[in-house]
């Protein structure tokens, strides 16, 4: 129990620390590579929530896909374009700053109000499902539940997402295609 607690705090500290470094680093490539650390420690935190499938999907989608895509985009874009991003926005009334402040304050108060609401006790619905034994245990095979639910209860959202991704794929193929030569 002790070691898992230490691991949890280690992962949480890594996630927050690396996220802070990402936004403060001047070197763009390094901050993209640091994003990998953040995503990985976040995947570790998912495991603590017994969402092992989500954790691995996080690694496969974000690390194997999105991060590589970001790096490619960075390496294929030119210096002039990137120097704009590096300079950032100056001035007191620059938009992104107060917007960011607003969002982070809102999320902070949300978290604070939820913490106040439960006040150190566990919520009722958790106590109820504990007494009814309707919990996921760490030894459970979660992927069976996921598969069955995706194909029955959530089949419509699942299919809508796949159609949406298909549209994105076709759009990308269309944009990347060479213009047809008019003879």
């Amino acid at each position: 129990m002790m070691i898992s607690l230490i691991l949890f705090y280690l992962l949480a500290a890594t996630a927050i620390g690396s996220a802070l470094l990402i936004v403060s680093l001047k070197n763009l490539v390094r901050s993209i590579f640091l994003f990998f650390v953040t995503l990985f420690s976040l995947a570790g935190l998912y495991v603590f929530a017994l969402a092992d499938f989500i954790a691995i999907t996080q690694v496969i989608v974000y690390v194997g896909g999105v991060l590589v895509l970001m790096l490619f985009a960075f390496m294929l874009s030119n210096r002039v374009l990137l120097s704009d991003v590096k300079q950032g926005f100056k001035g007191v009334f620059a938009l992104p700053k107060w917007q960011g402040l607003l969002i982070s304050l809102a999320i902070f108060f949300l978290l604070l109000s939820i913490a106040m609401q439960f006040n150190g006790h566990e919520p009722q619905w958790i106590t109820r499902s504990k007494s009814e034994q309707t919990l996921i245990l760490s030894s459970d095979n979660t992927i069976h539940h996921l598969g069955i639910n995706l194909m029955t209860r959530y089949v419509l959202p699942f299919e809508v997402i796949s159609v949406f991704l298909m549209m994105a794929l076709m759009g990308a193929a269309h944009l990347a295609r060479k213009e047809e030569q008019k003879v």
């Binding site: 070691i3 070197n27 490539v29 390094r30 590579f33 990998f36 092992d52 499938f53 691995i56 999907t57 690694v59 496969i60 690390v63 194997g64 896909g65 991060l67 590589v68 790096l71 490619f72 390496m75 095979n141 979660t142 992927i143």
Partner: protein
């Protein structure tokens, strides 16, 4: 607390095995190259040159760390570690014998596929950190290739998973031999649950899985950057790709990662299609060959023999086939392997419903 010591011991044993395997594989590679090209290969150090790779690694260990003047020192140093650790973590879920696996995860196969994809990040780190055109081009090529070939490889694996209905590597293996509780059919016709042997392997349970295995094998060659898909390290164009600037111990780690990757992808193929630690010998009447040759030490021996044979095949292919061009590489992946893998997956679904259940 005791099991933490066991965890560390298992990790150390695995690492020393992989290091020993790499030394052996490099020697085998050079000998096979010599055989194919009608020459002797290393002959000077030890009997038939058998100590050559040990001498090589001793030399690499003594070398100085050199990083190029304008390189990104941090990324340059981190890259070989990331590449190796990504491959090494994959071994955590691999089954070695009945009841013998470092971690029998419910999502074992999914985990291994995910962990392997991290290697791409390490390769990009090496390419960017070196601050060298050849390295960057090599790493871009490598990543484009790894990312594209993951798709047919993954789909071919899913075709086998749909037949066995589990992602747990240990259960996947059990379902291909005499220990299985399910009904196993040889080519969908003959009940071989009690016969076992090679007849119960996934590759013979459904004929389309042979095609799936061939697709997986080709794609796995590309994922390891092995010839005929070694354009990331094409010597005639890119010096030696993303590890051009590396030397000494750091280069040794890239080398170790490459050979461990070969072993890992071969082992995944063996577990999913070729019966894992199951024996190839079937029960024949009263001669219960399959039951006699199933057990812990037998299991380790079988999976090692099978995996080393596949690694040998990879080595032989490297020195036999010429390198593909970039456009040929991509058209092979997207126009041939991916549609065929999709076809295999569709047949697997139908097979599961029509043949295995009905």
């Amino acid at each position: 607390m005791n099991f933490y010591i066991i965890y560390i011991l298992v990790a150390i044993i695995l690492f020393s095995f992989l290091a020993a395997f790499t030394l052996f594989a490099v020697y085998a590679e050079r000998k096979v190259a010599g055989f194919v090209q009608d020459r002797l290969g290393p002959m000077e150090t030890g009997k038939f040159g058998s100590l050559q790779t040990i001498a090589d690694i001793l030399k690499l260990l003594q070398k100085e760390f050199i990083s190029p003047a304008n390189s990104d020192k941090l990324l340059f140093a981190a890259a070989p570690v990331v590449v190796f650790v990504a491959v090494y973590l994959g071994f955590a879920a691999m089954p070695w014998a009945p009841d013998l696996a470092p971690a029998a995860l419910n999502l074992g196969l999914f985990y291994v596929i995910a962990i392997i994809s991290i290697e791409a990040i390490g390769v990009l780190m090496a390419g960017w950190g070196s601050n060298n055109k050849f390295s960057l081009l090599g790493s871009l090529r490598a990543v484009a290739q790894i990312v594209s070939y993951e798709i047919p490889a993954g789909l071919a694996l899913i075709a086998a998973v749909m037949i066995t209905q589990t992602l747990n590597m240990q259960e996947l293996t059990i379902n291909q031999g005499v220990l299985s509780n399910e009904r196993l059919l040889f080519l969908g016709l003959w009940d071989v649950s009690k016969v076992g042997g090679f007849l119960a392997w996934n590759i013979f349970q459904a004929p389309h899985l042979m095609l799936a295995y061939i697709i997986y094998f080709i794609a796995s060659l590309a994922e390891c950057n092995r010839a005929p898909f070694d354009i990331p390290e094409a010597e005639s164009e890119l010096v030696s790709g993303y590890h051009t600037e590396y030397g000494g111990l750091r280069f040794a780690f890239f080398f170790l990662a490459e050979y461990c990757m070969m072993f890992l992808v071969s082992m995944i193929g063996v577990v999913l299609f070729l019966g894992g630690w199951n024996t190839p010998l079937p029960n024949i009447g009263t001669v219960k060959l399959a039951e006699w040759t199933t057990g812990m030490w037998w299991g380790i021996a079988w999976i090692l023999i099978k995996t080393l044979l596949i690694v040998g095949l990879q080595i032989l292919i490297r020195w036999t086939l010429p390198r593909l061009r970039v456009d040929q590489l991509m058209s092979l992946c997207w126009k041939v392997l991916t549609p065929l893998a999709f076809l295999c997956m569709a047949i697997s679904g139908v097979w599961r419903i029509m043949v295995m259940v009905g």
